[in-house]
Symmetry: C2
Subunit: 329 residues, 2 copies
């Protein structure tokens, strides 16, 4: 196994030490694996919490900061965080206006966030569950659709709304509208390798790729021979367009790298994806190209498309200052 | 070969199409492979040009924008841009106050930038050659030391100085001071694969790594058995500290990913590197962790350390707005 680690058991602990050192504007509760803002928001402002298994960096800790999350809770690699961690994090960031839990739809995540919300006394909690990955219904770790790339959009747009001082019901409602209007699909050229096992998560022959793969290497729709970027773009964009009516709205589009695919290829793929979208009458108003929701060292990419209204576009453009998304500030 | 491309011959052309689509604030001269700013600086301001072979993204095109480069010229993958491209780019960005050529020390780059400067009539050109990679003297494509990670620092600091309206001699002098005060060293866990050949650039057995590797896969100092992140950090930091006197100055440190190494590992490595530096009395004042100067899909990392004075720190902190480095704006 070729990884820059000391011991498989210490990867998360030691990565959080590095994150804390690199970002003095953030704080890390190392015992509970909570990354939170150094400066808290004014009293009476809604707070946003997300979290999940590690191995998808920069998601979620890389999105903690002004205009996005108040805290991220880190589970072990590909493992849900425990209810205790989520309770501690929720209490820590509660500013007296309630906390929105932003949850990717994986059974363990949903269960542990739910348990935390039930056990939390005195803090108002609302919840949004993201299930944007159209590849499959039900999957290895999921009932229903998996939550993937759209999480970045929910965290950005709902985070900006919270920063403006909107109430919890409004912020949560907006987050749910983003969920209803966005779709994703991904693909893998290679598997990822878990530090704990040292072996590829799944087997993918040299001449094949997985279309519709999950961010933990869960099976997708089909395994097909390697194809051109243009063909791959079509295999991702067509199902997305078939699943939702995007016509008319300006779109926010993310071309996301799975971890090991270089930026020169991601920009090339974005060009292909954008061409297909525009041809289908979907006008790309904003875009993100890079590694945002990864799967360790998997090579591949995913596409996320959000049919945005003016309110979402305005909140997307609002200032944000986090380790991995930063503009206007 | 597992890559998101259409044809090996079209990788750069099509990647630039995607870059242009993703960043409407930039302009791309596709015939000459020049990426430049949509909004030009005021007349009488020094302009910065860099460029080199592609495959190191986001370097250089990802650093075009306010506070950094005025333009980047893209050669084919791992191939120097031609003098004609450099001449065209220099003329395009000249605001009447001269142009600084920021060159990584590779024989082809230096030769073609020199030829361009000689052939350019009517534009004042000054030159800085970056040779920060302490791994080896002379290398596959280089006489002297190779230019690598410090390029980001030169582009950021000199770019901020140019934005303030300083004169060419001053901007160039500052760039040369950065070159004199910064050192880098890298390592590879795996080779990269060139789209044109479809095969690994060099052979690296499963149980070995290359310490001191170049960003084109050039040989380093030695090939050693795989080791822990802590050991690897020591193998990179100790030679850097032995090569330059860093004591006393605050340091700007970059932990750079070579392309295929996930962020969770890069943060872990940064924690190790920072620990060693602080133990040696080098105080880390600013840091960057991520993929900034890559080698296609190589797994590995590099460390860059700059002994910064107050002026450099101030210019580092100055606002910047480029696709891959953005703050304060």
């Amino acid at each position: 196994m070729k990884k820059l680690i000391n011991s498989p058991d210490d990867v998360l602990t030691e990565s959080l030490l590095g994150l804390a050192a690199a970002h003095p504007e953030l704080r890390v509760d190392h015992a509970n694996r909570i990354v939170y803002r150094g400066e808290t928001k004014p009293h009476g402002t809604v707070a946003l919490l997300s979290g999940g298994g590690s191995g998808h960096e920069p998601l979620h800790a890389g999105f903690v900061g002004f205009g996005m999350l108040d805290a991220a809770v880190c589970g072990e690699v590909f493992t849900s965080p425990a209810p205790d961690q989520l309770i501690e994090a929720t209490r820590r960031i509660d500013n007296g206006a309630g906390v929105l839990h932003v949850i990717k739809n994986y059974t363990g995540d949903v269960m542990n966030f739910e348990m935390a919300a039930e056990l939390l006394g005195g803090t108002e909690v609302d919840t949004v569950v993201i299930a944007d990955d159209i590849a499959v219904e039900d999957s290895t770790f999921t009932a229903g659709r998996r939550g993937t790339g759209l999480t970045v959009f929910v965290e950005k747009i709902a985070g900006a709304a919270a920063e403006q001082g909107r109430e919890l019901t409004e912020v949560a409602g907006l987050a749910r509208r983003v969920c209803a209007s966005g779709r994703s699909m991904g693909m893998a050229l290679t598997s990822s390798t878990l530090p704990a096992s040292g072996r590829p998560t799944f087997d993918l022959p040299d001449a094949e790729m997985e279309i519709g793969v999950g961010i933990h290497g869960e099976p997708g729709r089909r395994r097909v021979p390697l194809a051109s970027a243009r063909e791959i773009a079509r295999m991702l964009v067509e199902p997305i367009l078939a699943d939702h009516e995007f016509g008319g709205s300006p779109a926010i589009v993310m071309l996301n790298g799975m971890g090991a695919t270089p930026l020169i290829e991601l920009y090339l793929m974005f060009g292909e994806v954008r061409g297909l979208l525009e041809k289908a009458g979907v006008s790309v108003a904003r875009s993100l190209v890079g590694n945002y929701v990864t799967s360790l060292d998997m090579a591949g990419c995913s596409v996320t498309v959000l049919a945005a209204d003016d309110e979402m576009l305005g909140l997307w453009d609002a200032p944000v200052s986090t380790p991995s998304l930063r503009w206007g500030i």
